[in-house]
Amino acid sequence: MPAKRITVIVNGEPHAASVEPRLTLVDFLRDVLDLTGTHVGCEHGVCGACSVLFDDLPIRSCLMFAVQADGHRVSTVEGLTEPGGGLSLIQDCFWETHSLQCGYCTPGMLIAAHALLRRNPDPSRQEIRKAISGNLCRCTGYGQIVEAIELAADRLNQRTPSPERDGHDR
């Protein structure tokens, strides 16, 4: 099938490429743009590991073809990092509460957490569980992930101060 020319704004930068229509958005991000932070799990919309923000809303990038993203904005887990490197506030909270073991689900969880806290800066525990219900984790039992998002909400609402950065490479 003939390839299609597309331009997608990824993490604020326009990327032009020629893609086969059947290339999924997640394979485009990983294999064409080399943004391997977004993970591929089930490839049929069950696990949520491939979650990205599409025009600012969380979606599953295995359930879209890259050609459909032409002219749209995509943010990946790499785009959550503050300019100049380091971890975002939410990533810091995941790190502090041991919210990852193997790390496979983490980029998708971070996207879901990021989308939730932007929409609802002070979610209940139930709302947090609902927000990550589309993301499977086979290691943690979800407890620490919920805890991380609660901690992030506390910090965003300045109920719990953020610790001073210790200068160690995270």
């Binding site: 099938m1 999924t24 599409f54 879209m64 989308a115 569980r129």
Partner: protein, 293 residues
């Protein structure tokens, strides 16, 4: 898991989209949200030669009140429908059901019409359309036609849409002047927001004395298509919908449903769930109606 090769077009008008469908000779498929189609393509259960992406067809998107109906464009995102004040005020049953449809990530892409056209027997939006007796509108680019929900769903994943037709909108009836209207939606699923093993939907209108004046009741995944429980609806009219009265009516659903056995539940368990969930949905609808001013 990679889809078989296909060609792709993204037309801007309905007429153009239908033209591609007609030229596709049965091998072209519409993609809207893609939340059901893309997995089928990934598993190669579906291998269209041409995907007609309708995401840029503006006339297929939007929610509006039109007389005694609320018209939801087929390509309206499920997330947008769930946030719509018109839906919340005028089609309370749909507003109640939408949070059960998939997850945030799928509702942000998935469309109202896509779910209807896919016709999964466990789907919540099809259940609401069946319960309320919604009307689908479809077009082949030249002529439009209307299809009642009762005729639309034929079998699992099968509707009366023709290969060259595009679902354009769904029209949900509004119940103005029917009294105090309330909705109830109940579902059993393996995990939060997963596919319904069985689901039940009810919308009731109560008069000042708490007597039911209008009722819509249906169940999903207790038969190959969503089933409207007309005999229960008729029997509810003139009744106070309390636990005892509803329980007495539940056996009326027996001849309307045909529960089947699969990995998630046996037919007997499904029959039990259909009864329990219908009871709860009607009670919930009555309680919500009683709260209306």
């Amino acid at each position: 898991m990679k889809a078989a090769a296909f060609d792709y077009v993204r037309p801007a008008t309905l007429r153009e989209a239908c033209g591609y469908l007609a030229d596709g000779d049965g091998e072209a498929r519409i993609i809207a949200g893609g939340q059901s189609l893309v997995p089928l393509m990934a598993m190669r259960l579906v291998r269209p030669r041409l995907l007609v992406d309708i995401n840029d067809v503006a006339e297929l998107t939007g929610i509006a009140r039109d007389g005694s109906e609320v018209v939801v464009g087929a390509a309206t995102r499920q997330a947008d429908a769930g946030r719509s004040g018109i839906v919340v005020d005028d089609v309370p049953l749909l507003a109640l059901a939408l949070p059960f449809v998939g997850h945030d990530q799928t509702r942000n892409r998935g469309t109202v019409g896509g779910s209807l056209a896919h016709a999964d027997p466990s789907a919540e939006i099809g259940l609401v359309a069946a319960a309320l007796g919604a009307t689908m509108t479809a077009s082949d680019g030249e002529t439009d036609r209307r299809i009642d929900a009762a005729d639309f769903f034929q079998a699992p994943m099968t509707t009366t849409l023709e290969p060259g037709e595009c679902l354009t909108a769904v029209r949900f009836p509004v119940w103005p002047g029917a009294g105090r209207v309330g909705a109830g939606f109940q579902e059993v699923s393996a995990r939060d927001s997963d596919f319904a093993i069985v689901a039940a939907a009810a919308q009731l209108a109560l008069d000042r004395d708490g007597v039911c004046r209008r009722a819509a009741v249906a169940v999903a995944n207790a038969a190959p298509t969503p089933v409207r429980l007309l005999r229960i609806e008729e029997a509810l009219i003139g009744q106070r919908p309390d636990n005892e009265n509803i329980e007495r009516l539940l056996p009326l659903m027996d001849e309307a449903i045909e529960p089947s056995t699969d990995l998630h539940a046996g037919a007997d368990a499904r029959r039990h769930m259909a009864r329990s969930l219908t009871l709860r949905a009607i009670l919930q609808a009555a309680a919500n109606a009683a709260r209306e001013p």
